[in-house]
């Protein structure tokens, strides 16, 4: 019989070891799976790695992919710190991009990029913040369930963008085909060595979020509110205000991710712009235990996995579902390693021994017969 016991503490080296083990197990399972499908498992793994890091271009793609993931995860982590379950990253990201798109559409073609890009980013922040504010206000004042509310706001955002795409913002120059015009060319984020400077956004935000959460008063308040609202009240904090501020910041950062993706990667607005980043970021934020620097690292690894899986799909000609399954296996093994970090399995070697003679003052350390627990336990009336 195995039983589970809690580990009281796990050392840093342990946590590295278990994560690497998890990674290896995930690789192994993926290879097994690909092997069963009739492909060369070793080749598939090298393809995965080279697809993510192998060439300069692959590396650039990975970085580009990591930008919205990291930014969104950083944003969500702020809300999660307050135990505000913001799973509306997808919608906030989309609305951030919509707001940035709006700025690009209303400004004249002669506006300098130096003005346009910052305005678009700020608009993106505001767009995301507003989208998060709606469920936030309902949660704070009417105690609605923010999980459901933010989730539903995602679909609202997607449908809203569809409406823009097919109706309001439809580009007349496309001879009837639906679609929104690209943003102005001077609003394209400049590229350094083929990577948009948007890559700086998550890096800067990591530092900002880290300092904000750990070193400032608002961050302290956010942490206290997340831990215990009664305690925050007791300490005289204005819980409603703090929570609203945190939600705005969370949604804003996610919206910023949307604006950055628009200006640095897609250049036009479509309903699929978010591409699931809002959901993937939830996993990233929790894998990183809400710590800003670790979010940055985890996002990068996630992006690499995504890129690698796509490459496998292309080069080996396996269906897209296979790439998804590989991603799932890797993630599952990685998360599984968390379990072993927190708990340990103990093998109980208590074997049934028929006759046990008890000697007083001498403990019996093993070999208790498992009692046949039946009717004799509740025998007799007193």
């Amino acid at each position: 019989m195995f039983r589970i016991a809690k580990r009281e503490k796990s050392s840093l080296s342990d946590s590295f070891l278990f994560r690497i083990l998890g990674f290896i197990v995930g690789m192994g399972l993926s290879m097994l799976f690909i092997g069963v499908l009739g492909h060369n498992p070793f080749k598939s793994m090298t393809t995965l790695l080279s697809g993510a890091f192998g060439t300069a271009n692959a590396f650039r793609n990975t970085l580009t992919f990591a930008i919205p993931l990291a930014t969104t995860a950083l944003g969500l982590s702020v809300a999660f710190r307050m135990k505000f379950w913001n799973i509306g990253g997808e919608g906030q990201l989309l609305m951030g991009a919509t707001a940035a798109m709006f700025i690009s559409m209303v400004t004249g073609p002669n506006t300098s990029g130096w003005i346009l890009i910052p305005t678009m980013l700020i608009a993106g922040f505001i767009g995301g913040a507003v989208w998060a504010m709606i469920p936030g206000i309902f949660r704070i004042h009417l105690r609605t369930n923010e999980t459901l509310f933010t989730l539903m706001m995602n679909y609202l955002a997607i449908e809203f963008v569809k409406y823009l795409y097919y109706n309001l913002w439809k580009d007349p120059g496309r001879s009837g085909f639906p679609g929104i015009k690209s943003i102005q060319t001077q609003a394209f984020l400049p590229r350094v060595m083929g990577v948009s400077v948007g890559v700086l956004i998550p890096v800067v935000l990591t530092v900002v979020v880290f300092i904000l959460v750990n070193k400032t008063k608002p961050g302290y308040e956010i942490r206290v509110v997340g831990e215990s609202e009664p305690t925050a009240n007791y300490a005289g904090m204005n819980v409603k205000k703090i929570m609203l501020g945190g939600v705005l910041l969370s949604g804003g950062i996610v919206g910023l991710a949307g604006a950055a993706k628009l200006a640095g990667e897609t250049f036009t607005l479509t309903e699929s712009l978010a591409g699931g980043a809002g959901f993937t970021a939830i996993v990233i934020a929790w894998l990183a235990n809400l710590s800003a620097p670790i979010i940055l690292v985890v996002s990068f690894l996630f992006a690499a996995l995504e890129q690698g899986a796509q490459t496998i799909q292309l080069r080996l000609g396996v269906p897209a579902a296979v790439a998804e399954i590989i991603k799932g296996l890797m993630l599952m093994s990685f998360l599984g390693s968390e379990f072993f970090l927190r708990y340990r399995l103990i093998y109980d070697r208590r074997k049934p021994v028929k006759q046990q003679i008890l000697v007083e003052d001498k403990p019996v350390c093993s070999g208790d017969p498992p009692a046949t627990l039946g009717s004799e336990g509740k025998e007799g009336e007193t």
Partner: protein, 549 residues
């Protein structure tokens, strides 16, 4: 240690050489614990001495690392609490485990097997047959259910065998605390428990209810059941129990016959050295200078239930005013209203003649009102569980720092000072407070509040769940505050302590002030009557009346 097992009665169960460790912490080390049939056996020990671990081993929650367990003469090895119940061991936990929206009957009957129901019916019938009870004439109980309320009938009749009374059709949420406890007891008895384990059962009861519980337990003993009674209250152990086993630091120290020992002896064995059991009560400041004045305060909670109605009183500098009352009598709300956490619906509060009604907690705190509220779960309000001491000390002062950044240097040195002054056992001042023991957690709160140098200090349930040594440290700290001319409002549960520590005692009943008595000339009976709703004026009818003002 050998026990004369056949001298009085056969052993109900015996635990020998039980060891259980959690990681590096050894909670139980070679504990021997033997209880006979037909006795009330007290299990005494400080917090962290391994009482609850031992009882969890007995009830199948934990599996011991080594040691053996014999129940009614048979070797047992429990894999789950269900196994323990089937062997006749029933636990009644301190925090009741009832489904609030279900009736008492449903709570009791939930999950009973057909054979258990049949056994219960048989035992009720037997009782009716043997003592010619009125039940004999009543319609027979049928589990097939042609009588709609056969279940509540069964529960009522089963409970009356043990002289336990409650309305079986009331939802658990409407039962009083002592009725809930009765339901818990019946719940394990109907499952055939012959060994009843009660974890601090009297912590939530009035003296009168405690008496009734003792009656029930004695009755069970006379029927040959065994009762394991876990308590901190030595007086109760002396009154009720036959034998006592003392645990200290995870080891069983002694098993003694209660009539052959005295309280001092027990405490010494429990703590390991002599302890002064007298609570000091220095004379209060004779000037009677008013600190807090509360005028006809009322408060309705969110559901519109009146929690405080027309409460008026004053506190004086340099005295401890105790507040007694049953759980849920409005003590918590009183504290929270004074500290500004909730807003009163009527009435006025003033400190030094200056109104603080409706101010924010932070500005009230700045006026020198300090509250250390220790809720049931201890960490729910007042401390941030996952943060270290430094960040918890910051809780009350960060708002007064300049700039946007948090400065923790001052809090750091303050924390170190608190650790030293109050002897707090912690690996470091940044160690999460939730990992500290109960006593140390309470000391952290008290230390922080004392360092704010308040005028008025509200200490609510400051010794809740603490062992004797830590409690006495807290009493000493409160007395120190009193000596520094601080006005202390002490919300307490243990009447003995209230009567020994406080200068005056205010009794609340359902949010009403029943009167304030002089703690030096009052009796437990008087307090108990006031707690259950008799006003002091009525009680003394004008004699020796201590005014509210």
């Amino acid at each position: 240690m050998t026990l004369p097992s056949d001298q009085y009665g056969a052993l109900a169960f015996s635990m020998r050489g039980i060891s259980k460790s959690f990681g590096s912490v050894c909670a139980n080390e070679q504990i021997d614990f033997m209880v006979r049939q037909g006795e009330i056996h007290a299990l005494l020990g400080e917090n962290g001495s391994g009482k609850s671990t031992l009882m969890n081993v007995l009830s199948g929650v934990y599996r011991p690392d080594c040691g053996s367990l014999e129940v009614f003469g048979k070797q047992r090895f429990f894999h789950s609490p269900g196994d323990a119940i089937r062997c006749g061991i029933g636990m009644v936990y301190q925090h009741f485990k009832l489904a609030e929206s279900l009736t008492a009957t449903d709570n009791i009957m939930a999950g009973l097997s057909r054979t258990q129901i049949a056994d219960a019916i048989r035992s009720v019938r037997q009782a009716a047959d043997s003592d010619g009870h009125e039940d004999k004439t009543a319609a027979p109980i049928r589990s097939s259910g042609y009588r709609k309320n056969w279940k509540s009938d069964l529960v009522r009749r089963f409970a009356s065998r043990f002289h336990v009374e409650f309305d079986p059709d009331k939802p658990a949420s409407q039962l009083s605390v002592s009725e809930k406890q009765s339901v818990e007891i019946i719940k394990v008895l109907i499952r055939g428990a012959k060994i009843l384990v009660l974890d601090e059962p009297t912590a939530v009861l009035t003296p009168q209810e405690t008496k009734r519980l003792f009656g029930v337990l004695r009755n069970m003993r006379d029927r040959g059941c065994s009762v394991v009674f876990i308590s901190h209250k030595l007086g109760e152990i002396m009154e009720l129990c036959d034998r006592v086993t003392v645990l200290r630091k995870g080891r069983s120290v002694d098993t003694l016959v209660v009539s052959e020992v005295d309280t001092y002896d027990l405490v010494e064995r429990m703590v390991g050295h002599k302890v002064e059991l007298e609570i000091a009560r220095p004379d209060p400041n004779p000037e009677h200078e008013e600190c807090l004045r509360v005028d006809s305060l009322s408060y309705l909670d969110e559901k519109g239930v009146r929690k405080l109605s027309g409460v008026s009183f004053s506190t004086f500098y340099g005295e401890i005013l105790g507040v007694a009352g049953l759980a849920g009598g409005g003590q918590k709300e009183l504290c929270e209203v004074i500290a500004g956490i909730i807003r009163p619906d009527g009435g006025a509060i003033a400190v030094d003649g200056e109104s603080i009604t409706g101010l924010s907690p932070r500005s009230i705190s700045a006026k020198g009102v300090s509250m250390c509220f220790i809720p049931e779960d201890r960490l729910g309000m007042g401390l941030v569980a996952s943060m270290g001491m430094v960040e918890n000390v910051l809780l009350k002062e960060y708002a007064f720092q300049k700039g946007i950044f948090i400065h923790s240097d001052a809090a750091r040195s303050k924390s170190e000072q608190i650790v030293e002054e109050l002897d707090i056992l912690t690996p470091s001042i940044s160690h999460p407070v939730r990992l500290l023991s109960g006593g140390n957690i309470q000391k952290v709160i008290l230390g922080r509040e004392i360092h704010l140098k308040p005028k008025l200090m509200i200490a609510a349930y400051a010794v809740r769940g603490l062992d004797i040594q830590s409690s006495y440290t807290i009493y000493r700290l409160l007395n120190e505050q009193k000596a520094r001319n601080v006005s202390v409002l002490y919300i307490g549960e243990d009447l003995d302590v209230l009567m020994a520590l406080c200068d005056r005692i205010l009794v609340l009943c359902q949010g009403e002030n029943m009167g304030i008595v002089d703690a030096r000339n009052t009796t437990k009976i008087e307090l108990g009557q006031m707690m259950s709703g008799t006003k002091l004026e009525v009680l003394r009818s004008g004699v020796d009346y201590v005014s509210n003002r």
